[in-house]
Every structure is written in C-alpha cells, then in structure tokens.
Symmetry: C2
Subunit: 342 residues, 2 copies
DNA sequence: ATGTGATTCGAAAGCGATTTCGGCATCGTG
DNA sequence: CACGATGCCGAAATCGCTTTCGAATCACAT
C-alpha cells in the first residue's frame, strides 16, 4: 500500500542504501543522483516511514506530554490548554510530534517511564502532574530528557511563571487602593501554591500589613463552587476582609456569584482578585482584576529547552526559564469602602 | 539500555519466538512457560517495544487527531477540548495513544494523509477542520479509518450533535417567553452552522413567527468581540430584536458586555442566548441560557466508532451517532419586555 | 516396533529504514 | 605505465519484534 524506499530505489535504478543516503544528505552522494532521488520521491509521493527510522536510529521525533489525570480537568483547563497548544506548535516547527503519556494505557499497568520507553519518545514535558508522586520522580530521574512546567527539579530544565512577583503585584495593587484586610484563598499543595503564598506574605509585609491567619484559606484550583464556599466563609467572619484574592480566574467567577448571593456588590462592598489572565476575565461584569501568566511563552520555552536538550545532549545544560507574570487591572478590585477604612 | 525481548528469552532459556508467542497468547505455548515468561518479564521490567511491533504488524495502536489550525484556537476552545479529552480517555482504555496530525511538521510539506502514513496511525478522528479542504477530503477518502465530528461524509462514521433540535428548543424557549423578534447571530460556514440555521428557521415557523432577514447575521465562532459587534448592529436597527441568539457561549459573553455598554439590562431590556453549555454559563450574572452539547459523550462515541472500525474492518459499517443537545435555561433569556410586545 | 495425532517449541524470514565497510571507476602524479 | 588517492555507490548487517512452518517429543493405539 504505502510507498517505501524500495519503490524509489527501483524506479531510479539505484540501491536502497543510495536512496537512503540521498535523503540523509550523505557526502558521498553526487548532486545529480541526490536530485534524481528527490525528484522521483516527490513523483511517487514517498516519505521515509517514521516507524522504521525510529527502530533503527532510536530517535522517534516524538515528544511525550504528561498531564495530570487524577482530577478530570486535563485538557479542559484553559491555562494548561494554552501551554500545551504553544508547546505543540513549537514542537511541530522543529519536526516533532507529540503524544500523551499516561499510566493506564489499555490493561497494562505501565508506569509513566515505561510508557515513554514503550513509545520511544525522545523527551517528555511534564505539564501538570503531581510532582511528588513516585512515578513522576522516577521519570524525571531517568535518562530521558525532561522539562517541567511550574516545578523545578535539580538538574532538569524547567519553565516557571513568576508566581512570587505576580502575587506581590496583586497585593500591591490592592494595598494601593487602600485595602488592608486582604484574604487569600489558595489552591492545593504544589510549588505554584507555595510560591504564591510566599508572594502574598511578602506583599503584605512590604505594605506594613500584618497577616491574619483566618484570611488564608485553602481551596481547590479551578473550582468555582469551592471558591464560592470560601468566600461565604470569609464574609461570615466577625471582621470580614475587604479584598479576597482567589486561586484562579474560574474561582474568582465563583467568588463573584457568591458575593452576589450575599447581596454584596463588587467592588463597592468587597473586592475580588483572580489569577491566570484567562479570556473570560475581560468579559465579566465587573471585569476581573487578575495576573496574566504568559501561557503561550511558557509552552514555547518548554519546547525549546526540551528540543535543545535532545539535539545537543553535550552542550545543553539544565535551564530554568522564568516567565514574568503581569498584573492586569480590571474592575473587580476597587477602592476600599469608606466605612471599612481603619 | 532498554530491556528487549532478547533479555527475557536469555533469562529464561527460551527462544525469542516463544517469548513473543507467550506475550501474544498463542495457543501453542504451555501454561507453565507462559507463566515463566510473564514472571521474568515482570522481574526485569520488560514491555514489548511499540515501534518494533508496529513495523512488523502495521498496527501502531496510535490514533491521529486532526484539529483545525487556520485559526489559532485549537486546544484552547473549551468545547473541542472537552471532546478531545473524552476521546483520549476512551482511547486509552482500549490501549491506544493519540497523536496530533498536522500539515506543517518540520520543513516538509506533508499533507494530512502523508503525515498519517508517516506515523502509521491506525485511524484518525477529524475533530474540527475545514471539512471542505482538499487535504481533508483526501484523507477521508483514503483507506485509513476515519471518524468525523460534527460533519458527515458518506460511507464514514461520524458523531453529530443534534443541532437542529437544539436550536429549535432554544427558539421554542424564547417563543414561550413571548419573544417574536428573535435574531440569530451564526458562525462561519460549516455543517454545524447550516444545521443550526435550519433549526432556527424551523423553530420560528413552528411558532408562527416570520423571519426577518436583518435578524440573521454572520459572525465568528468563539469571538466575544465579533459577537459584541453583531449585537451593536442588531440593536441599531429601526426595530431591534428582543432576543438575540449567539453562536456560542463565549460570543454570548461578548453580547452581554455589549448590552451593558449600550445601557441595556439583560434580560429586562434584551434577552441573550448562548450555545455549547460551557461551564462559564453557570457563573455569569445573569446565568446564560444555553444549549448543552454533550462533548464528553461525543468524544467517547467517536473513539468507540473508530476503534470498532479498526478492530473489526469487515463487520463494522459506517455509523452515525446523533448526540442529543439539551436546553439549559438560565436567566439571560427572560420574558419579553411589555412595551415590545406586538 | 511403527504409525498417528496432539502438543510444544525454535529457526528463520521479514517489516522499512540506517550505516558501516568495501568495491570499482576515474583521476592525477611520479 | 603503475600506483595511490578520490569520488560514488552497493552489499549486508542490524534495530526489536511477529509469524509461518517445520521439528521434536510424548502418548497412545495399532
């Protein structure tokens, strides 16, 4: 069915080896024969079969992408979808395809690492997984080139969003508008979360605001419902916060609707902050004040690091890309209500 | 580096063939040796290499996914991301991995079909492409099993959302609330669009509403900005509509903010309808009345059809899955304002 | 003993490519 | 004219696995 190298060799009366070498730009092929080979290849629609080539060369031009699976939201998470999209585009530019890595393929109980070997991927991008899981650690510690996003392993390349600075900027913005009772609803345990909490603390102290333990609440990323619940709890405190920073934009949406249920106007009665900078923040009323993470750049950078590591195993070291996050003021964080100023 | 079948054969003193046959459940292997092979395989961490197996059997257990690329929004489109997510999960259950198919891989100008052959995919799911493009037609007409989503080719399996019924239900909902000046802002040319327009017309006529040409406007899917612009145009008409149905939920968001800019309350002054049933519709104020498309089920069904076709090439015919869409009432479509009733 | 059938295993070819190494012209040079 | 150098190409091994077909063994009936 498919046209193979044999067809090309037969058609131009050359050996298989010669055709192969013509395709791989070997020096011992004359310009004319190289031209002949390429021409006839084009005529009969020949492309070297990636599978056969991989078997022989051990280079698949295929990259693995590891997405979290414990929670359902893999691809549907807009931030990670953007990262993946950019990663994919950049990979394609360099001739790499991508495949998802998982650990429940078929009946077999393959680990992530085993799945990678099974498919012969040249490298893996760990996008959003539980970085503390044994299986992930095993993969990262293996000889397969790895790049991680939003988590740093020693001796491996990674791309990080500037979470500390981003969070500090958000707190500074709120403080500049007079807020001193600032609450932070954070997501689950992860590097990202730790860094944002650090940024939150630093932001507070830089503006001489002392931290109230009740104002730090754990919630779940990307869950409007959990976000709404957190807001209800906070507003039920004896002295509720005047500004609530949420783990992400979807949670902020949940916060907005919780506020409405409570009869509170945003930002007149309470201010709400988001994180991520997803498109929806610009379409809500009020527009959500958020911190934009440059997902496109993160995905692109990850691809560049990974491919560099694959193609230049000696020279390429483990790089760490810090991608700046930018405050995007909306209307959901406003001046502190006067009766609340202290 | 990697452990091969040879290692297993050496370790248990059996030939390579025997090990292979033990793994593939051949009948001429005794229960004891089969057990021995599996045990030692487990001990030294052996998994058959997918690449080598593919080369020999011409079955890659790899499925291609074709996403639109002309516009940037591939993975970031929430509806398609959901479809893909479900497709992926179902495939993994059956032991298939998935790879993205595109036509600008590296420097080579491969067509979609060539890319599929290059990677030896067992089948392809065309999710959101320009179904009229020559390249796509070529792929669909080839011998590679194909399933399409939201577009039907003769003699190929497909999964369709019930767009006509969905749209009719939406119109009926608006009509029941007294609306007779109903506008429809539709997306670009595509089967989906045609069907929804058909549903729109039918809905109107079923309720004895005559169609006003100015009330049918073309916009772009998933573009709040374009949606907002369409709303501005509609509301500038001599007799503006009382209810505007948008191509999707994101566009509906754009419509909401356009209405706000115009000083119109939703739904008191004008009603807005969405489509898709994405999560955000439940978190806006007002909540958006929309039609839920069961993206999960669509993706799952596509995977089932495709794998069936691959694994049972004789018996499996070309199936057509119609997935019902369901009206999800929110608050953005309300009763017609009294001064507008005619 | 011999033949028969069932059971279990191994040798070897081959999937489509890459890559080493050697062969054969051709050519310049002493 | 001989000889080594150079340029160009092909034979064959190989990657890790599947699968056909024949061989070996054993039991059992003849």
């Amino acid at each position: 069915m498919a046209v193979t190298i044999k067809d090309v060799s037969a058609r131009c009366g050359l050996s298989i080896s010669t055709v192969s070498k013509a395709f791989n730009n070997y020096a011992d092929i004359s310009a004319e024969t190289r031209e002949l080979v390429h021409r006839t290849a084009r005529e009969i629609g020949y492309y070297p079969n990636a599978i056969a080539r991989t078997l022989k060369t051990n280079r698949s031009y295929n990259l693995g992408v590891l997405f979290q699976e414990e929670r359902g939201t893999g691809l549907t998470h807009s931030f990670f979808a953007s990262v993946l999209d950019a990663f994919k585009s950049e990979c394609e530019k360099h001739g790499y395809d991508i495949t998802f890595i998982n650990h429940n393929i078929g009946w077999t109980g393959m680990t992530y690492l085993e799945h990678c070997r099974y498919r012969n991927v040249d490298g893996v991008c760990v996008v959003c997984a539980n970085f503390y899981a044994a299986e992930v650690v095993e993969l990262v510690a293996s000889d397969i080139p790895v790049v991680t996003i939003d988590h740093a392993f020693s001796n491996r390349s990674c791309v990080l969003s500037e979470n500390i600075e981003g969070m500090k900027a958000l707190v500074a913005h709120a403080a500049a508008l007079g807020h001193r009772r600032i609450a932070y609803v954070h997501g689950e345990h992860a590097s990202v979360t730790e860094n944002r909490i650090t940024g939150f603390y630093r932001g507070l102290s830089e503006h001489g605001i002392e931290h109230v333990p009740e104002y730090l609440l754990e919630s779940v990323y990307d869950s409007p419902e959990a976000g709404a619940e957190a807001v209800r709890k906070l507003m039920a405190l004896p002295t509720p916060p005047t500004c609530i920073l949420m783990p992400d934009d979807h949670s902020a949406l949940g916060a907005l609707s919780a506020a409405k249920e409570l009869g509170l106007r945003v930002p007149e009665d309470v201010s709400i902050g988001g994180y991520d900078g997803s498109r929806i923040t610009q379409m809500t009323q009020p527009r959500i004040t958020t911190v934009v993470q440059d997902a496109q750049r993160m995905g692109r950078q990850a691809a560049i690091y990974l491919i560099d590591r694959i193609e230049n195993p000696r020279t390429a070291g483990s790089e760490m890309g810090l991608i700046p996050a930018m405050l995007q003021p909306g209307e959901s964080i406003g001046p502190v209500p006067s009766q609340h100023q202290d």
